[in-house]
């Protein structure tokens, strides 16, 4: 790979780092309980929304907060499910799209409400304009705002403050953060060549005299919130590999920055809200190190190309180009794959099924760990969970009751954390085993890669990522139902357990810091944190990875 490609990697990381801090400050400001200058700007609109919706700005207990999140999100799933089921009879359906069948509507509604955006329908033909707008785009705003709210409430709990009110946080997340940034980003995307029109498909006569139909639509507005909210669902079937959904390297870069913006900012928001900026920085740096390691492996593997094609005498100077686009080339494709799985967005600009085995392994590992930044809110909750595990492990080693931010971590919290940690592998490995026994015929790439295909689907669902090894024949009711359930549990189980941890910590009296306190804002802690993440991840998933991508890589070499 050329020097230019490495420079572009450095550029992405540099800009992402430069944006993270001010954005983190802005988020802390936006969710502050005190009156801020932002109230003057957003107050009138927000007060109108509060009035229209009957929202009272009063604090909730952790149980009320968790109830509000789960109940409201579930109800929204039901509403949108109903819209999908009867879209054929509703207005704004110029192409006459039929109503969705039950299992697909179930899967799609859960998928977008859980910020997963796994798509078992076809982007170009499965949804009416009405469903796209008030179903999909609506959820693309509400889903990330919901978990952003939970993360903020959790941090408030850690800081010993009341958790706040879910609906107030939800409204602020949309009006102050998602909507303004998405609006500006959408216009920039259109300027770069992304269509934004309500006109139907264009018909042209090609140079060789054939007729070509060109699908288009309001792509720009969709794309902006897709990336910013870590949603990832594509307007078109091939997502951001489609030239209309990602016309060049600048739009590609902008998409990666949008995906990283909120996940990288939250450690800084956290630092401000709990009054320990150094700890926020330590968490940020730890995650950035994992990210860099994974990026390096991915680029090296894709650059090395496919050994089986080397054997045929194919010139692979460009790296492995199967499933990739020329305008991105190797570096911008590998970077995108790592960013989209690290941020749990799930947008793709190249086909992950075609990645070299080790490149594919990196994408799946990102989703298994689910802590290399992670999606809006959800990822940061995971990071804090691992931070507490790290504190707990250190406490065991020195024989002291572990403390985090001056609060003792005791039996009750550790039980809740252990449950949260175990749900994720359970939701990935058990369904994978069931699917391999009952639905192995839906695998499109036989052999070891087939295992990876199935495992990727459930990992992506459980981590609420939404990308796929798309060769898998997943448009069946078995896949619709099982991944639907996995996405739902993957999203909301940890919301309840983690808010319970926050509630329990908020009620505790802080213990004074002494010279014997294990510090959680230095390099030693970063090391313990990283080791905790990697060891827990490796112990849980390594056997499955050996049978999938690692075995495939070895067979290609032989």
């Amino acid at each position: 790979m050329t020097t230019m490609a490495w420079i572009s990697v450095a550029l992405l990381l540099l800009i992402a780092c430069l944006l993270a801090r001010p954005t983190g400050h802005y988020i802390a400001h936006a969710f502050s309980n005190e009156r801020t200058g932002l109230d003057r700007w957003f107050g009138p609109l927000e007060n109108l929304i509060y009035r229209l919706c009957g929202i009272r700005q009063e604090n909730q207990s952790w149980k009320q907060y968790a109830m509000s999140v789960v109940l409201s999100n579930t109800l929204m799933i039901l509403i949108v499910y109903t819209i999908f089921r009867i879209q054929g009879m509703l207005p704004l359906n110029p192409s006459g799209v039929a109503s969705m069948e039950p299992s697909l509507a179930f899967n799609t509604a859960i998928s977008f409400m859980t910020n997963t955006n796994l798509q078992h329908y076809s982007g170009e033909t499965g949804l009416s304009y009405l469903s796209q707008m008030i179903g999909i785009v609506f959820m693309m705003f509400v889903a990330p705002a919901s978990l952003l709210s939970v993360a903020i409430a959790f941090i408030r709990g850690l800081a010993g403050k009341p958790l706040g009110n879910f609906f107030v946080d939800l409204v602020r997340g949309i009006t102050r953060i998602l909507l303004p940034i998405a609006f500006v980003a959408a216009l920039v995307f259109v300027a770069l060549g992304v269509p934004q029109t309500l006109e139907p498909t264009a018909v042209v006569k090609t140079v060789e005299g054939a007729t070509q139909e060109i699908a288009r639509g309001p792509v720009g507005s969709f794309l902006a919130i897709k990336e910013l909210g870590n949603n990832g669902g594509g307007f078109f079937g091939v997502n951001s590999a489609h030239p209309f959904e990602n016309p060049g390297a600048i739009s590609n870069m902008l998409q990666m920055l949008l995906m990283l913006l909120l996940p990288t900012s939250l450690p800084f928001t956290y630092g401000i809200m709990v009054g320990n900026k150094k700890q926020g920085r330590v968490l940020f740096v730890s995650m950035a190190m994992m990210f860099l390691l994974f990026l390096g492996i991915s680029i090296a593997s894709e650059q090395a190309g496919n050994p089986a094609l080397h054997a045929l005498g194919v010139n692979q100077m460009q790296g492995s180009m199967e499933g990739k686009e020329v305008r991105f080339g190797l570096a911008q494709s590998a970077m995108y794959s790592v960013v989209t799985t690290a941020s749990e967005t799930g947008a793709v600009n190249n086909m992950h099924d075609t990645l070299t085995p080790l490149g594919g392994l990196i994408t799946i590992a990102n989703m298994m760990l689910n802590t290399v930044f992670g999606g809006v809110g959800a990822g940061f909750l995971n990071v804090l969970m691992y931070a507490m595990i790290a504190v707990f492990l250190s406490g065991l080693m020195v024989g002291r009751t572990p403390e985090f931010l001056g609060k003792k971590i005791e039996g009750r919290e550790m039980k809740l954390i252990a449950v949260t940690m175990l749900i994720h592998p359970f939701l990935i490995l058990i369904p994978t085993a069931i699917a391999l026994f009952t639905n192995a015929d839906t695998i499109s790439n036989a052999g070891f890669h087939g295992l990876t295909q199935v495992m990727y689907e459930y990992t992506s669902s459980a981590a609420n990522n939404g990308s796929g090894f798309e060769g898998l024949g997943d448009a069946t009711s078995f896949w619709n139902l099982t991944t639907g359930i996995v996405m739902y549990l993957g999203r909301f189980c940890s919301v309840i357990t983690m808010l319970a941890v926050a509630g329990s910590l908020a009620a505790k009296k802080p213990v004074p810091e002494t010279s014997g306190t294990f510090r959680t804002d230095n390099a030693l802690f970063a090391g313990v944190f990283l080791v905790a993440v990697l060891i827990v991840g490796a112990l849980t998933f390594f056997p499955a990875l050996v049978l999938g991508p690692i075995a495939e890589q070895l067979t290609l070499l032989s």
Partner: protein, 191 residues
């Protein structure tokens, strides 16, 4: 119960605000300020007929034109997609072998080892409008033979349609196959 009524009202408000108003606002501004991009970067020929989109690849099979990347959907712009072949998939290996044989038959002047992989691999979208400049250059001998246009002129044509890296560092240098072939089409008509 209170949560349910609030949720219903919140849903309606945000369906209107995010689902309808946001989409319409972006569409309105885009159509007013940058209609070319907003409508899909469609290009017309000299007779004013739509011949394609600058951003969407077209199928070229005539040996007298530059060929684009392999597309399992044959550049059907109403959809998009690729076969999602894993690196270990035997179907992918046999497709590559077939393409290599076809290359040898159509381009006896250029050894297949010199062909960059983008010409032998299916693109991600099936609509990739670009090839690498090297992939365009290796096709020069064939096109010269088919059309009688001098190699040097073809080479200049490629240079004119080569887009560099954005800001000098992002992405890869590339040639827009449709725009290149539109110029080639005119040259062919004159000669």
């Amino acid at each position: 119960m209170k949560i349910i009524t609030i949720t219903l009202r919140v849903s309606i408000v945000f369906m209107l605000l995010c689902g309808v108003l946001y989409n319409l606002a972006v569409t309105g501004v885009s159509q007013a300020v940058m209609p070319f991009q907003a409508n899909g970067s469609l290009i017309k020929n000299e007779q004013g007929e739509l011949v394609g989109s600058k951003l969407i690849g077209q199928a070229f099979t005539d040996p007298g034109y530059f060929h684009g990347r392999i597309s399992s959907i044959e550049y059907n712009g109403a959809g998009s997609g690729s076969p999602n072949y894993a690196p270990s998939n035997p179907d992918m290996l046999s497709r590559v072998k077939e393409s290599m044989e076809q290359w040898k038959a159509e381009n006896p002047q250029v050894p297949v080892e010199e062909v960059p992989m983008d010409l032998l691999a299916n693109s991600g979208s099936g609509l990739d409008p670009h090839i690498s400049p090297e992939s365009a250059r290796v096709q020069i001998p064939r096109i010269e033979k088919e059309t009688g246009i001098a190699a040097s002129e073809l080479s200049h044509m490629i240079e004119r349609h080569t887009e560099g890296r954005e800001f000098g560092v992002l992405g890869e240098p590339r040639v827009n196959v449709l725009e290149l072939n539109l110029e080639l089409q005119q040259a062919r008509a004159q000669s």
